[in-house]
Each structure stands twice: as C-alpha cells, then as structure tokens.
C-alpha cells in the first residue's frame, strides 16, 4: 500500500493532461502529523501535492454529491461502496467518474495511537506494516494491524468494488472477521441495561451533528432535525431529543451504510455512533442478505418489496 | 411588549399576505415604541418563535402598529390562523431607518415590488403627513398582477390625491378595466423616474430580481450610488447584532441595517 503514491500521481497526471477529467479528488499532506486533508487537483503540474499513506481515512465519496464536473476520484473499498450508493441514488453519474481504485489494508486510528503513545505526536513515519511515532523525546513503533480504525479491522470489503484504474494489486479480503461481536453483546442485555447503556454513551453528545454532516449518505436538502414544519425533534440538548436524533439518523442510513466510519471520526466527543448503524447493517444482512454499495444495478432492500420478504413483527 | 390583534386584513387574492393591526396592552409600551419608517420589529408568538417583519405603519399613525405578513415559515403560518383579540408580542423597533434627516427637502422616488412594500407604505404615509418637508415624491410600485398589489385602497387614494406621482404597474393582466401601467418595475422606472440630481434620492426595496434589473436603469439615469438606498433581508434571530447570522462583512443587517446606501453595499463583501 505504501507504494501507491507514484501510481496515483501518474494516473492523475494522465487523466488531467488528457483532459479526461476536470479534477482529481484525493488527499494532500496535513498540517498535523498523522493527518491528511482531502483536496482537489485541477492542473497536471499540481498532482505532486497528492499523498497516500495510512492516514487517508476520510471517505472521499462525501465530496461527490451533486458535482457537475468530470471527476477522477481515489477510492478505497469503503469509498467505492459509497460511490455505488451515490450511483444507485442518482447523486452522480457513472460517466462523470474515473474511479482510481486503491486496495486498502486499513487506515490507522489516530486516537488509538495517541492514547497508547501517551504523548503529543510530533513526527510520524510508516512502512508497509509498521508505523513509528516520535514526540517529547520518545519514539515508539506500532504494528499497523494493532492500531487500525475499528471499522477497518473488521472490514470485509477492502478492495474497491468498482474501479477504472488500479494503483496497486488487489489485497486479500479478510474472511474470518466477526463484524458484530459488540452488537450481539448489546442485544444480549436486558431492556433497562440497553437503555442505560445508550443513555451513558449519548450523555456527552453536544448535538453538533458532526456525525450527520460527515456522513456521505446524509445529503438531504433539509435534514429532519432542521425541519420546522413540523418540528420532529427539539433542538436543545435534552437526552430525549438527543436519542431521537441518533435513532432516526441511524434509521435513515439503514441498508445504505457501508460502515466507513466517517461519523465516528468526525464526532468531537468520541461517541461510538456506529453502534446504531452497525445494528441496522446486521439486521439488513440477516433479514435480506444485503450489504450496501456492492452493486450499482441493485436496489436496496428498504426501497423494494418482495413477496418473500421476512415479515418481522408484523401481525 | 405584549400586544392584542385589533384587526386582520387579507391583502392579496392569493391570501398569502395579511396585514395585522396591533394595539399595545400597556400604554407605557406604546409610548416606548417610537419607530421611524424603514425599521422592523420581531413579532413573537409563544410556542412558535419570533419573526422579523418590517413595520408597515408610519410613526405618524398613533395608537397602533401594523405589519404585513407573508405566509412562509412556522411563525407566519401560525399567525395567518390567529384571530382578532389574540395576544402576542412585539420586540422592537429594531434596525435603522431610511435616512429621513438627509431626505428632508429633497426629491424622493420610491421603487418597490411585490410584498416588500410594507416599510415603503410606512414611508409614504410618513411623507404625506409631512408633505411640506419634501419636494417632489414619486412612487413606482409593481406586482405580478393587480390582485397581488398591497394596500389597494390606499394606492388609489394616493393616486387620487395627486400630491405625489403614483406609477402603479403589473407584470401582466387580463383585466380590461386595468387603468394603470403594464410592465416590469425596471421598465417603468426607466420611463417614469425623475431625472438624476444630487437632490433626488431613490429608495429601492423589492425582490432580488427587481433590484438587480432596476440597478442598471438607475445607473443609466445617472443616479449616484450615494443617492440609492436599499433595504436588505436576511435570516435573523436576535435583531440586535449579537446572534451572529445576518452579517455582511463586519456589518449586521439587523442592527447596522437593514437600510444601506448602494455605495455602502459596494464596499461590503458580496453576500446578499
């Protein structure tokens, strides 16, 4: 994965020079160690600003919505699945896109590394399997597999699902991952335990809606929380309103969420909001055998009806 | 300031605009509410919220205040279902006003369109009550059709009185008895506006498209940008310049505006 960048720049330069695309969406170096910043490149001579490392966490599909240009876009497994979502939901046209596939072995979780390092990180380096961080006169090396983002660690679609170019060899998919261990643990709780569990994790929510805004699925012109006629949910930080928001947001992502982790990454309070969306992912998988963003020609389960759909709880 | 709804008049045939006449519950509030034409106030409906609306009555009309309210959002929709006698609130007056200190002794042409005519009505009534303080007064007012004109009875009365030049226009009509102009406001402005003069001021208030197309007309006529006065609109909440949303550059439309000369607007970032 470490060597992708030459190929990324080469492909981008070619696409821009031959005017096959108006812009390439990728990542550039961040101002902080272990950070990259999503960016666009419009001129072939600027492609060298593009970078690639294990900090390219952001889901670039979030930047495609309603764009009119022809776009080259770098896509990991999750990005490509969200691009497919956009195609299915008519948010962008396939002809507009040149998907530059980047088979992914998972992105590093900066929060985990910072926590385990226990110091402010001043410098960062990585090799194929390891990362090394320095700061405060201390240096520490981690195995990448130990510090992946949680959603990357349990990812079973690391290769781009759809692509026009490929910047590296396809990687082996993880087959034996248990994606829903945490969900089952909650499912096993009794009803009040469940309630209190979520009451606790949502107690720090500041209702900034960062999870929604960062989500590549959340593109409604007016979100239900912003509606005033009628007003579905109160705008203060009352726990009942907060929970209503999280519950409904998750439900709006049912059958669409690719577990890209954008919501949790954006949450300034580190609330594990994926616990909601993953539950719905699990239900969709178990009830309808569905995983989102794998096929641009297939409608998602919640907007189709089949006579043999399981009728859960319908009397 | 608590007020009671004293009268509700449906202004337009699409029933989207109603004029509310409020009387203050407390006499002291009435005395404290000293406004000038061009200002606005926040109308408050408990349980729904507040909405910033231009004051349609002139300070010379005593004992009540009037607001013309377009049915759009949560509060205005609710207001359209309220009845005479209902209690609500007014917070104001807020914002600045048309520069009456400057306008005295000058020619004034008022150019308005659609339902943005309410503070212009206040201005006209105010000027008529102080008619000797102003030189020539012209009013160019247009709407899409005759049924959408606000204050039709008053328009007719002003026209009949003859001490101001009234130029009413509609974009189009199939009414054979329509006796006024037909054409867009910019076109009528071109024909009817008085010639530019350092002593002639234009007050322009209307939908963005009207303002955009009237501007070149006034430029052609030679109006200096200091002599063109605009009134702006923004989403507002506090009305006193502290909640942060209605700024253009370092000016808050609710407090430093809504009235700006075009010259001032030219020196502000283009976020209108």
């Amino acid at each position: 994965m470490i060597g992708y960048i030459d190929k990324i720049r080469e492909v981008s330069r070619k696409l821009l020079t031959e005017e096959k695309v108006d812009m390439v969406i990728g990542y550039r170096k961040g101002s902080l160690p272990m950070m990259t910043e999503p960016c666009f490149v419009k001129r072939p001579e600027d492609v060298d600003t593009l970078v690639w490392d294990s900090n390219c966490r952001i889901n670039l599909a979030a930047y495609l919505m309603d764009r009119k240009e022809k776009i080259g876009i770098i896509a990991k497994g999750c990005d490509s699945r969200n691009i497919i979502n956009h195609l299915v939901e008519n948010k962008i046209k396939r002809e507009q896109l040149v998907i530059i596939g980047a088979p992914c072995k998972g992105m590093i979780d900066k929060k985990t590394v910072t926590q385990q390092f226990g110091q402010e990180i001043d410098e960062y380096q990585e090799t194929e399997d390891q990362i090394t961080v320095k700061g405060g006169g201390v240096e520490k090396t981690f195995q990448k597999v130990d510090v992946l983002q949680e959603n990357c660690a349990i990812c079973n679609h690391r290769n781009p699902v759809e692509y026009d170019e490929l910047v590296g060899d396809l990687v082996e998919e993880q087959v034996d991952v248990d994606r829903y261990e945490d969900i089952r643990r909650i499912e096993a709780m009794d009803i009040d335990e469940k309630w209190n569990f979520f009451e606790d994790i949502l107690s720090t929510c500041i209702r900034c809606y960062a999870c929604r805004n960062a989500c590549p699925l959340c593109y409604c012109p007016t979100c239900f929380v912003d509606e005033s006629k009628p007003q579905w949910v109160g705008k203060g930080n009352d726990p009942a309103d907060t929970r209503t928001f999280h519950f409904l947001r998750a439900f709006h992502c049912a059958g669409r969420c690719t577990d890209c982790g954008a919501c949790e990454r954006a949450c300034p309070m580190d609330i594990p909001v994926r616990l909601f969306t993953k539950k719905l992912g699990k239900d969709c998988l178990e009830l309808y055998g569905w995983e989102a963003g794998l096929n641009p020609d297939q409608r998602p389960p919640l907007d189709t009806f089949k006579p043999d759909d399981p009728e859960v709880g319908i009397k | 300031m608590p007020v009671r709804i004293d009268e509700i008049v449906t202004e337009t045939e699409d029933k989207m605009l109603k004029t509310f006449k409020f009387v203050f519950l407390n006499k002291e509030d009435e005395e404290r509410f000293q406004h000038k034409a061009g200002q606005f106030a926040e109308l408050s409906v408990t349980g729904k919220g507040e909405v910033p609306i231009g004051i349609a009555s002139s300070p010379t009309e005593k004992g009540y205040v009037k607001f013309t309210v377009n049915k759009t959002g949560l509060v205005t929709r609710y207001m359209h279902n309220m009845k005479v006698g209902d209690i609500m609130g007014i917070r104001g007056p807020l914002g600045n006003w048309y520069p009456w200190e400057t306008l005295e002794g000058k020619n004034v042409v008022i150019i308005g369109g659609g339902f943005a005519f309410s503070t212009l009505r206040a201005s006209i009534v105010y000027m008529l009550a102080n008619r000797d303080k102003f030189k020539e007064i012209h009013v160019i007012y247009g709407s899409r059709s005759p049924g959408l004109l606000l204050y039709r009875d008053e328009l007719a009365a002003w026209e009949a009185a003859g001490d101001i030049g009234m130029h009413i226009t509609v974009d189009g009509t199939d009414d054979p008895d329509w006796k006024y102009n037909i054409g867009f406001v910019p076109t009528i402005t071109e024909k009817k506006a008085p010639p530019a003069d350092p002593d002639t001021y234009a007050i322009v208030c209307g939908p963005p498209a009207m303002i955009r197309f009237t501007q070149p007309v006034l430029d052609n006529l030679g109006y200096a940008h200091d002599n063109i006065i605009n009134s702006l609109e923004k989403r507002m909440k506090c009305g006193i310049g502290i909640c942060g949303r209605c700024n253009i550059g370092d000016k808050y439309v609710c407090k430093d505006g809504p009235v700006f000369t075009l010259n001032a607007l030219n020196h502000m970032p283009g976020e209108k």
């Binding site: 499912e187 979520f198 929970r243 239900d283 | -």
Partner: protein, 56 residues
Amino acid sequence: MGNLLEYMGIERDRLHFSWVSSAEASKFITVVKEVTASVKALGPAKKFVKDRRQVS
C-alpha cells in the same frame, strides 16, 4: 424499526405493525385490543419522556 428500538432499550410491545385492510373490521378490532392490552401491561412509558429542562 422495532428491532432498533428494542436494541436501544424500548420495550418491544410498545410498537406494533400490522396490515389491516379497510374491509377487515374484525381484524382491526383484534389488533387494537392486542395493542392496548400489551401497552397497558407495560405501564406508562418512562423512557423517551422529556422532563422540564433544568434552568441554568
């Protein structure tokens, strides 16, 4: 929806789904009886209830 509500800690029996045609009067009665009975059995909802917010 029921799944997610239950997952969050809302009693399953507070939410019911049913298909009832306009011609199925007796089914409608049965369903309503069932719903009211199961909700009554649960008692008043204590979750998702908004208290008067505290004044700070």
